[in-house]
């Protein structure tokens, strides 16, 4: 029976669901997660480090307190430039369990996000057939941005105290630090600066410290 429920729950990993309640014994603890999706994308693109972490703790029967933190150190190479980006971002919020079975949970909630970051352009080349090519740098600017998120998340226990899960995020930018020397840029933790709202997706692996 448990394997059938696990199968059904895994199916729900891919599907949005309406609110309903389930049965099962819950265990409490602090769950520490690592963002596999950001790390995998960063690794495949070979641009540097994008390490995202999350932690959640049960609060009452149906609530979770959530805190995320991430560190980004990228060097993006494009046509005629190298662009380095250093960033720290964090999110905090609350999830509400709309369905749970034993230690698996589907939840919805909100986050407040904050990111501080800077860009620096090196080896900048602007081709000019008339006057001659320009070579220079783009000086670093320190920027900050804030946003809020509505989230839909799912976590399932793979085996004792080890979970996988994803979080789908609908984000709305509250305030954007203005980079005068770039048309559009990536706000770590949020997305492209030119989008006042955007979607995000993170896939996590978790370890729960029971208490």
């Amino acid at each position: 029976m448990k394997s059938i429920l696990k199968f059904i729950f895994s199916i729900l990993l891919m599907l949005p669901v309406a609110a309903f309640s389930g049965e099962g014994e819950k265990e409490r603890g602090v769950r520490i997660g690592f963002d596999l999706s950001s790390a995998a994308l960063s690794f495949m693109e070979g641009e540097g480090i994008d390490a995202g972490f999350t932690a959640d703790m049960t609060w009452g029967d149906d609530y979770f307190i959530i805190a995320d933190a991430g560190y980004v150190n990228h060097i993006r190479t494009g046509p005629g430039y190298e662009l380095s980006q250093d960033a720290l971002y964090t999110r905090a919020g609350v999830d509400y369990s709309i369905y749970s079975f034993e230690n698996d949970v589907i939840a919805t909630g909100f986050r407040y996000g904050f990111s501080t970051y800077r860009h620096k352009g090196k080896n900048v080349l602007v081709e000019d057939d008339y006057w001659g090519d320009y070579r220079g740098i783009m000086p670093a600017n320190n920027l900050r941005s804030h946003w809020i998120e509505g989230v839909f998340s799912l976590k399932t226990e793979l085996f004792a105290d080890v979970f996988i899960g994803w979080t789908l995020r609908g984000k709305v930018l509250l305030q954007r630090g203005e980079e005068e020397n770039m048309e559009e840029w990536h706000i770590p933790g949020y997305g492209l600066s030119g989008q006042s709202s955007t979607l995000g997706f993170n896939f996590y692996i978790f370890y729960r410290i029971p208490f």
Binding site: S10, Y81, E183
Partner: protein
Amino acid sequence: MTKRLLILTAILLVVISSCEKECYHKPKTMLNADFFTIEDEEELEVTLEGVSVYGVGREDSLLYENADVGRISLLLDGNSEETGFVMQVGDMADTLTFHHTETPFLYSYECGYILHFEIKDYGYTTNFIDSIDVVRTKITHRYEKHIKVYF
């Protein structure tokens, strides 16, 4: 099932990461000069016939050659703090000189950098030009009117 989901997620990540954009259009930052004349205290747009323009030091390469134009767009020199242009109409010539700063501007990740400029000072000769008025000192890749040239 969870293994399938992990594989599916990995495939999704590969697909997402392989969706790289391309650079379809990279603009140039041009200083736009519009031509005017004053008649009865009224500013009128004017088209000049047979206009040739080249950069000072680049006499071998014309930007405009015997063109009938009411506006010229000029590319400033990012490697210098001063850019000069010679404008000829018939056997008359005038020189426009702009003192400026340049700033690298990342137009897009796909296209790379262009330059933006800011005019700090300017000068001109008056063989057939009457005067110049700078209406916008910041010169970006967006189309804007920067100077008015009166004849």
